[in-house]
Assembly symmetry: C2
Homo-oligomer: 344 residues x 2
């Protein structure tokens, strides 16, 4: 199946969710990947890919390499292979590969095209839609980057067979996020169906991509509704930052972050304890962590202010209203936040 992402300024593109088809590009192509992904899938990709000229740059695997040094490595490869303005990068891997390849494409000679072939559940449902690209630095996650839309996204659910269980769970966390914030029916479907069954995960990917596509179409640059996709992220980013990005997968930190947001929503009367518990049960079904021991509550709170979403030193919280709806608010008192943080 194909999901069309409708965007202004000639930025529209298609997401294909199906076994990878033959791809032909009449340009120079550089595939950006890492050793893990290339070990499992590069031969498969090569068997499907035809280009005018084609090379591979293999970057180190892991969020800790999502930095400017790795971007330089990708760019250097592109210069050495004399890519021009018509050339194309292919992001072949998970979210980190996608974010970095997109960012490198956005600044190489002031912007060239890129295509995503996401290989993890998380990047398939989330990172491949929306055009956010970027890297981390010592101040936090994704603080340097650009909005740069891919030319197309090819999601091959069959690649998930080699995905470790924890990474699968991290992807499910983003699927749950989409359902809690925007789609009650989808949430109920998730409660009733097992995503370890192949047809089910394909349906869930499509539903998530459609939901995100709808949201991004409404608000490409995140001036309004798109911020709701950060449900779980305001808290989750702090968790990742405090643990140096080496303890939790991004999706796992989002799982914890959603539970924190839910606790706040319950405290503010937006969600019932029963609904909070249904989300917890669903997350735990896929072994996604839902608790985190906060060392210093004040310090945790202080971390929010480095987040991109904190305009005018106000923290923007995305709080579920029951299940299937949410609100974005910067009107939460510090006392309320501190109190729920103490519960963790």
């Amino acid at each position: 199946m194909t999901v069309k992402i409708d965007l202004p300024n000639n930025n529209s593109y298609d997401i294909f969710i199906e076994e990878l088809k033959e791809l032909y590009f009449d340009t120079k192509v550089v595939v950006v990947t890492n050793p893990t992904v290339s070990g499992f899938h590069l031969d498969y990709l090569k068997s499907k890919l035809d280009a005018k000229e084609f090379s591979i740059v293999t970057i180190p695997d892991g969020e800790e390499y999502k930095n400017m040094q790795t971007i330089d490595m990708i760019l250097e490869h592109c210069f050495e292979h004399r890519l021009d303005r018509k050339s194309l990068l292919i992001a072949f891997g998970g979210g980190v590969i996608g974010d970095m390849t997109g960012f490198a494409a956005s600044i190489y000679q002031r912007g060239i095209n890129f295509v995503q072939i996401p290989t993890t559940l998380l990047s398939q449902v989330d990172a491949s839609v929306g055009g956010k690209t970027g890297i981390n630095n010592k101040f936090g996650k994704n603080l340097i980057g650009a909005f740069h839309q891919p030319q197309a996204v090819y999601i091959d659910p069959f690649m998930l067979k080699t995905l470790p269980k924890r990474e699968f769970g991290a992807g499910v966390a983003e699927i749950v996020k989409m359902a809690v914030t925007f789609n009650k029916d989808f949430f109920e479907w998730l409660e009733q169906n097992d995503l370890n069954v192949e047809e089910n995960v394909q349906i869930a990917i499509a539903k998530s991509v459609e939901t995100k596509a709808y949201v991004v179409s409404q608000d490409e640059k995140e001036h309004g509704i798109r911020a709701a996709l950060n449900y779980g992220h305001t808290f989750g980013h702090v968790v990742e930052n405090e643990t140096n990005y080496d303890t939790y997968l991004h999706g796992e930190a989002v799982g914890i972050g959603m539970m924190m947001a839910n606790a706040l929503a319950v405290k503010l009367g937006l969600m019932t304890s029963d609904e909070e518990n249904r989300v917890k049960v669903l997350l735990e079904k896929y072994d996604i962590p839902t608790t985190y021991k906060i060392k210093d509550v004040e310090d945790f709170y202080e971390h929010f202010f480095l987040d991109k979403k904190s305009l005018d030193n106000k923290i923007k919280f995305i709080l579920p209203i029951g299940i299937g709806d949410c609100k974005i608010t910067d009107e939460v008192s510090k006392d309320d936040v501190i109190e729920i943080l103490k519960g963790f």
Copy 2:
């Protein structure tokens, strides 16, 4: 006077050519400048500027610092001062400051606004119009960057009083470029008027900005006509690269590059020797270099292929047709180019 730059996608902005007026910004503002400019003009700027919060980052002066390390320095300052997505950078200096400030703004938290206050003639007539931002690397000039339009440009011609003569000439070279490629009347006016007279330079800035604005409005992303603004640059970039960016000012290299393009145009019958000479006389009136000793002609030729403009390994030449018109062509034989290069 005010020149309106009309661009699609909400990217339009105004260029004000007049004594700097009072500026107020209801956001955090970071001024990016260098020691030379701040020594001459920072007090003046401070007397005009009011902002919610305001700080200055001073970066080293010179093209050799137009690199990712300096970008990191600017970004680090922004993070330390907790700039958010509504914050603003002000580029206060010449073309290098403008290009780097714009690029830093384009990637800080996926893009924030910036304003240009260009202090050199070259940046006033050229670098402040068009939205090209970027840095150099070991492969060449401006090879990494983004298209990022300023929110406004404030050109204060009175700042030119402190500009060294060589830098003034470098700016005149870009003015001559605009006249040769697009405006015969303007070229004749330049032959008859002295730009060292204050009213004249103001007129010339306005004419150049208007010409460039018209061209950029037609073709923001340089798919067609905008490439004509690279007249003199295809050759000039190689000259700069061969001399490690430390011998000629950018505008001076463009002056040399224009003479090379003209020689090629004469050889191909597009321009007469008399017209070629008129351009030379005009450039030399402002002590702009018009000759350059090429060490190795083949090596010089090979350098073209790293230029961004060389799609499909073809070199795109911008050749004047007489004075006031030009053509963009990638159909020039290597032999013809080599022959004119041997003349230098």
